[in-house]
């Protein structure tokens, strides 16, 4: 039985088409449709319920040392109020999850994890803790609303004032007052646009949602579902756990080398990654030039040789052609290479293009 987020009634009111996702019942789209929602985020501002995401607090004198072991990125250089992206690996150097680490202060960090991985992550982290540290899973108490798009800054400034907003991308502020609601506001997102993710207590979620939607009206705001969240992140070349990476794929294969700091003293999976050496397959972007849409897990051929598989694919609403991400043999991963993708038994033409597919101006 799927759980409802605190915003369930808001979605029903907006004619959300509700589907089960990661243990929750969430809107895949609203009545205006996926493409309109997608373009609203590219051109104006969209509002998403992402309350399904998991939130874990790691607190104590040894919090940083623990996080340094748990994730592949280097968190020792973070300042208070900073956010950092990182894969979290198992001992084999494969990806357990990709997470965002929020440094509240030297003794307290918030880790935002994928909903589908929450329980697995919590078990894994608990099992690897050492020293003076405690972990609490606060996911069930927290709601999370994402405000994404070029007008999100203007909208939030209107409601909360300019001082209330984090200035830099990947930074956050705590105790932000939004219409009397205590929020944590983070300048992050999963769409390739400027935007914010706003954390609040469950009890305040509906009021926060309604306030943002009401004030957002003159900015052309639209509620946006999981469907366009996926197409937006795909255009932005952002990986999704379970697709571009999982516990059989290393972060280096997934193209996340920028967040794997091999010069860090140690982290779980470091030795395995060193032993494996340079990855033999790598994540690439594909523009589908033939007729058809490659979804996930389509075999990819070059000269009749299978060189990999797609990991995600869709029709790009912004570019108006189909795009896909794929894991392919590194020897065949050069930009401009023309390949064939097997879509339900039919081979269609594709070309390797640089990631991301879309970059904001």
């Amino acid at each position: 039985m799927e759980k409802k987020t605190p915003l369930y009634d808001c979605h029903i009111r907006e004619d959300g088409r509700m589907v089960p996702y990661a243990g929750y019942i969430l809107p895949v789209q609203y009545k205006t449709g996926l493409i309109t929602e997608h373009m609203t985020v590219r051109e104006a501002v969209g509002i998403f319920d992402v309350s399904h995401m998991g939130e874990v607090i790691i607190r104590g004198k040894d919090a940083l040392d623990n996080i340094q072991m748990l994730v592949t990125n280097d968190c020792s250089t973070m300042v208070d109020g900073q956010v950092r992206y990182s894969p979290m690996c198992d001992g084999m150097g494969n990806v357990i999850d990709d997470v965002l680490i929020y440094k509240i202060n030297t003794k307290e960090y918030l880790i935002v994890v994928n909903a589908a991985n929450r329980h697995k992550d919590v078990e894994w982290m608990k099992g690897n803790l050492f020293g003076d540290v405690e972990l609490s899973d606060i996911s069930d108490d927290m709601a999370l609303i994402a405000l994404q798009g070029p007008l999100s800054k203007d909208l939030l400034t209107r409601i909360a004032g300019p001082e209330a907003l984090p200035k830099k991308y990947y930074s956050f502020l705590v105790n932000v007052d939004i219409s009397g609601i205590n929020c944590m506001v983070s300048r992050t997102g999963y769409t390739g646009e400027d935007g914010y993710e706003i954390f609040c207590q469950n009890k305040d979620a509906v009021r926060l949602w309604d306030t943002l939607l009401e004030t957002g009206r003159e900015f052309g705001i639209k509620p946006c579902g999981l469907g366009c969240r996926d197409t937006l992140r795909l255009e932005a070349g952002m990986p999704l756990y379970g697709h571009e990476m999982d516990d059989t794929i290393s972060p280096l294969e997934a193209g996340l080398g920028f967040a794997v700091k091999m010069n860090k003293e140690d982290f779980i999976g470091k030795k395995a990654l060193l032993d494996k050496g340079a990855p033999k397959r790598i994540r690439i972007g594909l523009k589908i030039t033939g007729r058809g849409i490659a979804r996930e897990n389509c075999p990819i051929f070059y000269d009749d040789k299978e060189i990999g598989r797609t990991t995600s694919g869709t029709h790009s609403p912004y570019l108006s052609y189909p795009i896909a991400m794929a894991l392919v043999d590194v020897d065949y991963s050069d930009i401009g290479r023309k390949l064939l993708v097997d879509v339900r038994g039919r081979k269609i033409e594709a070309e390797i293009v640089p990631l991301p597919f879309y970059k904001k101006a």
């Binding site: 996926l34 493409i35 197409t231 849409i293 609403p317 189909p322």
Partner: protein, 122 residues
């Protein structure tokens, strides 16, 4: 031309042009359930279609679905406008026919407009 539409339980419509010739499309309910269509694949002229067998794919941004033939016969025309403008099916599903079929030798159990409305209301 008869304006009457009949429906298959799998949400295709059939409009008979005469006793052995018909146009086939998908219902308003079907397009609304599928969402924004971005790609349609169609058979070719002279292809055979059979009752209950798929003859086309419709893809929305999120998913691909099959379209099943409510009749058995020979394709005599395909609506090539849909290849470049699949959104026509969303904007006017009853005008946006997929194929024209002749020499119809069999047809599925078809519902009237009223019966179909009852079906989708369930």
């Amino acid at each position: 031309m008869s304006k009457e539409f009949f429906y298959a339980k799998t949400h295709e419509w059939v409009q008979f042009l005469d006793d052995t010739k018909a146009r086939i499309g998908i219902s308003d309910y079907a397009q609304s359930e599928l969402g924004d269509l971005v790609f349609i694949s169609l058979p070719e002229v002279d292809d055979e279609v059979n009752v209950g067998e798929e003859f086309a794919d419709v893809e929305s941004v999120k998913a691909v679905s099959n379209v099943y033939s409510p009749v058995t016969g020979t394709v005599t025309a395909v609506n090539e406008d849909l290849l470049d403008q699949p959104e026509l099916v969303n904007s006017d599903p009853m005008e946006a026919w997929f194929i024209e079929v002749e020499n119809i030798s069999d047809k599925a159990e078809l519902l009237s407009e009223l019966e179909y409305k009852k079906l989708i209301a369930e």
